[in-house]
Symmetry: D2
């Protein structure tokens, strides 16, 4: 298929590379030139601007946030005036509100709009193991399904309303944030009572929480291993904001999300925005007067 | 080994039965007579009172809370005055504060005290698959290890200080409560935006949260299946109180635990104390004005 | 002085009337025609549109929120291209972010911009007893001081940066919201323990909280007297959002504001958006399982 | 009247001195000897122990907390076995739960029990300006009214149930704590946006919060003037605990009290337990990354 691809951050690069490897014809555009070269040597061609890309089968955008998506999509010339065969697949995590706006604008232009955020980080994308949450016109999703098959292990079809894919993505990310905060508070409590953090995490993940998310974040929190960031704390705060704003728009109180907001802001105020988002655990430790730079040796044994 | 066993709630019964099946010699005592009969027909003998039980190899207590433990252990005649060969293994989830008190009293009497709370519900105990968190004198734990082997899949040895086993157990339960609340808020948000709860849970547990705890509680929350209670909401509140009181005693702020406290109290005020603790999800739904009695049909498909 | 006045809600009407009574020359504009007539019979003239108003001494705008202000100010023709003698005095409570944007735009056009939100409700404005929080160029504030003198009891000059007046106004409103929530929780507690709400409020305001805000809101909460709204709950939520967004922009965690957000959203979900904002007290009562429609007879006596 | 007085902390001393000045006959007892001497030179006599004090008209106790009250009242010999003419007036702020226990024990012994906590700090007591919240048998309150008249400006009679006086006192203190936290968050926000703290407080207390509590705590927070403590932060935490425990016992969720708990614990973890309780404002400042040791010069002017 002929695909135009916008947004070559770590996720976008990995996905575009999978499409090329699956022999799709990929035209790329990105605000900075760096990421483009590697993809060109893998067979991509370059678009000079993000306008006029709708003459292939699909336009895929993987931009960083509401502001970036709005800037690109709403600029003159991005959407064709007379409709297009190409489906626009937006894979960014954006607000349900913006998703609704985008759907309306695409409807006006006669372009099919599919919201398709994903679960999985860059290394998962590189392995073609993403979970894709797709919502939009069934025929449009059918059409781009070969692209989804090239990049993900599974596509979850959530119906015709693109906003619902955004909501599910945001709510899923929220639960991950909650897991990190829960681990952080629990670790602060056990450390404040003389238990070694890594012992506690080993017990947790060896018993009731034997699962990748708890293994990953438990280890990062216990080892205080926040650099390089797998997912930046500043982006974690962005996702908390999306959750709160979705709750606000639909009158759903979210007390855990409210706590997360204040914890993430405190981490940003402490200068940790560029660390891995598991660094929010430093907030719970600092509040309890624990010196977060002390690492202790593991002592637990099990039989 | 010769074992005296106190506290025949659902957990105590299951554990005592495993000990009998492993050919240990078990004397039981319980406040109500009912549970005793079944164990007697399985080979247990009956103690007329909880006093004078320390002439065997171990006394195991599995009572419901601080108040019950305090009432039994501190009564005249429970602890021998002249020391004893028998180790006291307390498997209840009690506060670190009470644990420290109990250790001091046992030290005075010359009795070894082991704190050994467990991860696992009654059906896990019946299968001999508990995880046991043991802390106390190493020689005492060595001595009762055959009993732990009969009832659990693994024993985690947490050192000499019995309070540390209590802390780890309380912190682990806290993370489970957080998972339930996180699911509840996420479900309220997606429902408030038109997504079917069971679809959302299916996606979550099919992707990033493919783990027993999220499968179990996700299903209960989506299906609003709160009777019979696997674990009563009132006991969940008890555990939240233990978490907060441990945080208070060690000056560790716990904002998620504070949110949980208010959510559990609201559930109790609404009359849901005897439901399964996943019924706290009704709080998030009600706050959002969602009718929690409406169940929707699943619609998501994946490929 | 010659003044153009935009925004004739209850506050705008009261202020414009005071200016007329002080013999200022007032041109009014409003989206709906209703409020205009009364002011015309008091001597105002009518502008056909909000463009081209900068040929007098001042333009005063008292619009409802960021969206309304943005819509009027940023439309073609509102701001003169070649600068103007008239000062723009924005009396609305808007976000510091929008205030900074507006200042920049006015600077570009060569128009002096003064931010001047007020403390006081419509009846206070009608009495000319407002407190005015003014920030902007000193010479511009000097120029419009006669207008402030006509409408308020006191002008507080907060320096050159208009955003600081917005911040102080937002932070002040936040403290009022906190007082309402504190009263609401306290009343729920005492009612849950058999104390009559109005007795409690009488004691509070007869002892340590003998102050108008506690008298006003204590009475409304105890009497559950929410109609007509002195200040609509929906506007209270707007102010909480302004507080949170100001905190977000400057990395200041605000846990009380986060609680307020969830309480106000719950009130909106319950259908109370158009009641007086003291109706958030119904949230605390409902969470505690108290029937908020039961009013009790006062019983306390003092000597 | 003949009065026995127990508990000579700063409040107790001031009240006992007022009783002596009003020519009552006062016997004092205290755990430490220091405060006794000054009162003896003012005419008091000394009791050798807190037992056997019920042969006069009243026994007044002003002890620090639940633990101290329990220790004194429940010791052998404090309450007479055969009833007594003397009324026991407990002026300490204790939990409603303990109050109910105490009432039951006094009933058994045939002694009248009046709960009479007060609003007012030591300097208010010294001026005889306390507000007294009295609940208990009407005849018993009638009897001790001359004592209340000697120490307070007003007695608020709350009916026959002593627990209700405790509840009202606890709920009142809670609102004061909320005011301090609200000021603290507002000050953090305005400081984070370049507004001088003392300017903000001057505006607040010159406009909508012109009241002693806001003047006092606004000044302390802005000036960071926490030594000596007018009321110790550790005691503030004690009161927050009483509020939460009263809410727990009656199933009343209290989200503001939950926030206060975590803020006070964080202050204690930071080593501020012995400062004035307005030092909890350092928590909001630190979370926002503000250096709380920088004091700024006032700049606001008003006209």
């Amino acid at each position: 298929m002929r695909v135009a691809f916008l947004g070559l951050g770590s996720m976008g690069r990995a996905i575009a590379a999978k499409l090329l490897r699956a022999d799709h014809n990929v035209v790329v555009w990105n605000r900075s030139a760096g990421p483009i070269e590697a993809l060109c040597s893998a067979g991509a061609t370059v678009a000079p601007s993000p306008t006029g890309l709708f003459d292939g089968d699909a336009v895929i955008s993987m931009l960083s946030d509401d502001v970036a998506v709005r800037a690109v999509v709403m600029q003159e010339g991005f959407l064709p005036r007379e409709g297009a065969r190409a489906v626009h697949v937006n894979m960014a995590t954006v607000s349900p509100g913006l998703t609704r706006e985008l759907k309306a604008i695409h409807d006006t232009c006669g372009v099919s709009y599919v919201s398709a955020p994903v679960f999985g980080r860059a290394e998962i994308a590189a392995a073609g193991r993403l979970h894709i949450l797709a919502a939009g016109p069934a025929s449009a999703i059918d059409k781009v399904q070969p692209l989804f098959d090239a990049m993900g292990q599974r596509t979850w079809r959530l119906g015709e309303d693109p906003a619902q894919a955004s909501i599910v993505k945001i709510a899923g990310n929220f639960i991950v944030s909650c897991a990190i905060e829960a681990i952080s508070e629990a670790v602060a409590l056990v450390r404040g009572n003389g238990v070694i953090a890594s012992d506690f995490v080993e017990i947790l993940t060896g018993t009731i929480f034997d699962t990748p998310i708890f293994r990953t974040y438990g280890r990062l929190v216990a080892a205080q291993d926040f650099v390089p960031a797998g997912f930046r704390l500043a982006l974690g705060l962005k996702d908390v904001r999306l959750m709160l704003s979705a709750g606000d728009a639909s009158a759903v109180p979210l007390p855990f999300a409210s706590v997360l907001r204040d914890v993430f802001l405190e981490a940003v105020a402490a200068g940790d925005a560029e660390l891995d988002w598991s660094a929010v655990s430093r907030v719970a430790a600092r509040r309890a007067g624990l010196h977060s730079d002390v690492l202790d040796k593991k002592t637990v044994v099990s039989s």
